[in-house]
C-alpha cells in the first residue's frame, strides 16, 4: 500500500522551476533514497513530502487521500522529519525526545516508557538527563533520530542526516539506523548526496537532477546500469566513452571505442551507437604490454598513463588507450608497478563490468 505519493508536483522559487515530479510513491515499509548533487531539489522534495512546504501545483497524498489546507497539521503529525543538523531544543536529552509526543498531547505516563525505549534503541539511555547542548555531533544526531522515531511515524523523512558527522560516527549510526528501520519496518525517504548511504539503506533509489527524477531503480540496477551520463557520473562511473557495435554473438557485444575493441556482456544490435560506462574499481592495471594470458578478464587494452591522482590510500590512474579510461588502484600498486605519466600499461576488465547505454533510443 502507498503511504505517501506525489502527483504532478511542481515547485517554483521566484518563477524558476526547482522541482517537477510527475509521480512518486512510497510503499509501506520501504526505504526510498533520493540522491543527487547539491542544489538538485532534494531538500525541497522532502519538505513537500513532509507537508512543510506547499507545492506551486500538484498533490501530496497520504494513504491515497489528498490533504486539504485545514488538515495539514493533522497529516504532518503522522510523519516525522530529521534534518542534517540535530536542531535540539535547549533542554535535556529525554525532554527533546519527548517533544513530538508532547505536541501530540500524549500523556506523561505513556510518554516516559516510550522515550526510554527509544533512547535504548539508539544506545543513548545514559545520556537521558544530559543537557542536549553538551552532546557531540554523533550523540546529538542519535537524539534527533530517536526524537523522530519515538513518534512511530507512518513516514520518516531524513534530510542528509549523516552529512555533518565524522566518518566513524557516521558509519556506526548508518549501521544502527539501517537495522532499526528494517526491524520496525519504517517507511522512509532518505535524501542524501552520498551514494554509499543510499546503497547501504535503500530498497529503491531515485536520482534527482535539476529538479527532475531521471532514474528510479533498485540500488543494484542503478549503480550497475545508469540511464544517462549524468546519472553514471553521479553514481561513480568514471569511464564513459561512445562507440559503435561491431557484432553480437553468444551474449557478447563487441564494441568499437576509439579504435579499441571492447567485449561487453549486454544486449545491443550490430551497427547501433552505444555508450560504454565503466567503474574505476572494475579495472586492473599491469605494467607493459601483457598479452592474453590465463585470466577471465576478456578485455585487455594497452595504453599509456596520462595522469595519476592520489586520494587517501588509493589513486586514480587515467590511461589513454584510444579514449581515457580511469582505474582505481592502491597507492602501493602505483609505486610497485611504476605507474607514472607516460608509462605503458595494460588495463584489464571483465566483459560483465561495463554497462551499455544504447543511444539510438531502443533501450
Amino acid at each position: 500500500m502507498t503511504v505517501v505519493s506525489l502527483t504532478d508536483v511542481t515547485v517554483r522559487y521566484a518563477g524558476a522551476l526547482v522541482l517537477e515530479i510527475p509521480a512518486l510513491e512510497l510503499e509501506d515499509g520501504q526505504i526510498l533514497a533520493v540522491i543527487g548533487p547539491n542544489g538538485s531539489g532534494k531538500s525541497t522534495l522532502l519538505r513537500v513530502l513532509g507537508l512543510l512546504e506547499a507545492p506551486a501545483a500538484g498533490a501530496v497524498r497520504v494513504r491515497g487521500a489528498a490533504v486539504p489546507a485545514g488538515r495539514r497539521l493533522e497529516a504532518r503529525r503522522r510523519m516525522a522529519t530529521v534534518f542534517q543538523e540535530a536542531l535540539l531544543a535547549d533542554t535535556t536529552v529525554q525532554e527533546n525526545v519527548a517533544l513530538g509526543l508532547r505536541f501530540r498531547g500524549v500523556p506523561a505516563a505513556v510518554r516516559r516508557p516510550r522515550v526510554a525505549r527509544w533512547l535504548d534503541h539508539f544506545g543513548i539511555r545514559e545520556l537521558a538527563d544530559r543537557p542536549a547542548r553538551t552532546l557531540s555531533g554523533g550523540e546529538a544526531q542519535r537524539v534527533a533520530l530517536a526524537r523522530a522515531l519515538v513518534l512511530e511515524p507512518e513516514v520518516l523523512l531524513l534530510d542528509e542526516p549523516f552529512s555533518a558527522l565524522d566518518p566513524p560516527s557516521r558509519d556506526t549510526l548508518l549501521a544502527d539506523l539501517g537495522r532499526i528501520l528494517r526491524r520496525e519496518r519504517v517507511s522512509t525517504v532518505l535524501v542524501t548526496h552520498e551514494r554509499t548511504e543510499a546503497r547501504a539503506l535503500a530498497d529503491r533509489v531515485a536520482v534527482l537532477i535539476r529538479g527532475r527524477i531521471v532514474q528510479l531503480d533498485t540500488p543494484e540496477r542503478l549503480f550497475q546500469a545508469p540511464v544517462s551520463n549524468e546519472v553514471a557520473r553521479f553514481v561513480g562511473v568514471e569511464t564513459i566513452a561512445d562507440g559503435r557495435v561491431l557484432s553480437v554473438s553468444a551474449g557478447l557485444t563487441l564494441v568499437d571505442v576509439g579504435g579499441q575493441k571492447i567485449q561487453v556482456a549486454a544486449e545491443a544490435a550490430a551497427g547501433e551507437r552505444v555508450r560504454v560506462c565503466l567503474r574505476p574499481e572494475d579495472v586492473t592495471l599491469s605494467p607493459g604490454d601483457v598479452g592474453a594470458g590465463v585470466s577471465s578478464a576478456r578485455n585487455r587494452l594497452v595504453g599509456s598513463v596520462t595522469r595519476v591522482v592520489a586520494a587517501g590510500p588509493e589513486a586514480r590512474v587515467v590511461v589513454d588507450c584510444g579514449f581515457p579510461l580511469v582505474a582505481l588502484v592502491t597507492r602501493r600498486s602505483v609505486e610497485e608497478l611504476g605507474l607514472v605519466e607516460g608509462a605503458r600499461v595494460t588495463a584489464a576488465f571483465k566483459a560483465t563490468a561495463p554497462h551499455l547505454i544504447r543511444l539510438d533510443g531502443t533501450a
Binding site: L52, E85, L87, A89, T91, F103, P131
Partner: protein, 231 residues
C-alpha cells in the same frame, strides 16, 4: 574628601534607622518601575515576536523605529508625555499629569522599545531551520511559539533586566511628568537629584546606595533564574 565620608556615614545611619521617608520612596520606585516593566513585557514580547516572525509591508520601517526607540532619551519621552497629559493637552481631562500613572506611562515608553528590540533579536537568532524542525515534529503554531519563547528565554530575561534597569535609573522623564511631589511621585532618582541640589549629600548617598542595591538584587535574581538548569 570629608564630605564623602560624612555623607556615607550619615547614609548608613539613615538606612540602618529605617527612615520612613526613604522607605516610602524606595517602595514607590519599585512599584512604578515594576509596573512599567511588566507592561512593557506584555506589550514588547508579542510585538517583538510579531516583528521577528511576521512578514508584512512596513516591517523594515517598524524594526528601524523600534531600534531607534531603544535609545530614546528619557527627557524627550518626558516632554512628549507631558505635552499629551498637560491640563490643556489632548489627554489633559484624565488629570494624570504629576501622578504615578503618568510616570508609569513615561517609563513604559522608555522600556517597551527595549523589550521589543531585544525580543526581536532573541527570536531572530534562532535559526529558521529550528522552526522547520519543530513543524517537522508536528508542532502547531501555538506550540511552535511556545518552543521559540522557551529557546529564547535567556536573552528574553536579559530584555526584562535591561527594561527594568533602564526605567528605575532614569530621572528626566520621571521628574517632568511626575513633578517630584513628596509622598506622591518622588522616587529614588528624583529624590537623589533634589537632595544633592540642596547639599544633603547624606540623603543623596543613602538613596543612591539603595538604588544600586535594588538593581543588584533584581539582576542577581534574574541571573540566578537564567543559570538554573531547565527542568
Amino acid at each position: 574628601m570629608a564630605l564623602v565620608w560624612d555623607g556615607l556615614r550619615q547614609a548608613l545611619g539613615l538606612l540602618a534607622g529605617g527612615d520612613a521617608d526613604v522607605f516610602g520612596i524606595t517602595l514607590r520606585s519599585l512599584e512604578i518601575s515594576g509596573a512599567a516593566t511588566c507592561l512593557s513585557l506584555l506589550l514588547g514580547i508579542p510585538l517583538g515576536v510579531a516583528l521577528a516572525l511576521g512578514r508584512f509591508p512596513g516591517r523594515g520601517l517598524a524594526i528601524s523605529l523600534v531600534n531607534t526607540g531603544m535609545g530614546l532619551p528619557p527627557v524627550v519621552v518626558g516632554l512628549f508625555v507631558s505635552i499629551l497629559l498637560w491640563r490643556s493637552g489632548p489627554f489633559g481631562f484624565l488629570e494624570w499629569i504629576y501622578t504615578p500613572i503618568a510616570m508609569v506611562l513615561a517609563q513604559l515608553a522608555i522600556a517597551a522599545p527595549i523589550v521589543t528590540g531585544l525580543t526581536l533579536a532573541a527570536i531572530q537568532q534562532i535559526p529558521d531551520r529550528f522552526r522547520l524542525q519543530m513543524r517537522g515534529l508536528g508542532a502547531s503554531r501555538g506550540q511552535l511559539l511556545w518552543v521559540l519563547l522557551r529557546e529564547a528565554r535567556l536573552p528574553m530575561l536579559a530584555a526584562a533586566m535591561a527594561g527594568f534597569g533602564g526605567v528605575i535609573s532614569e530621572v528626566g522623564a520621571s521628574l517632568m511628568v511626575g513633578g517630584n511631589i513628596r509622598g506622591q511621585t518622588r522616587v529614588l532618582t528624583t529624590a537623589t537629584v533634589l537632595a544633592a541640589s540642596k547639599g544633603n549629600f547624606d540623603v543623596a548617598i543613602a538613596l543612591s546606595v539603595l538604588l544600586l542595591a535594588i538593581m543588584f538584587l533584581v539582576n542577581a535574581a534574574l541571573t540566578w533564574i537564567q543559570q538554573r538548569r531547565a527542568p
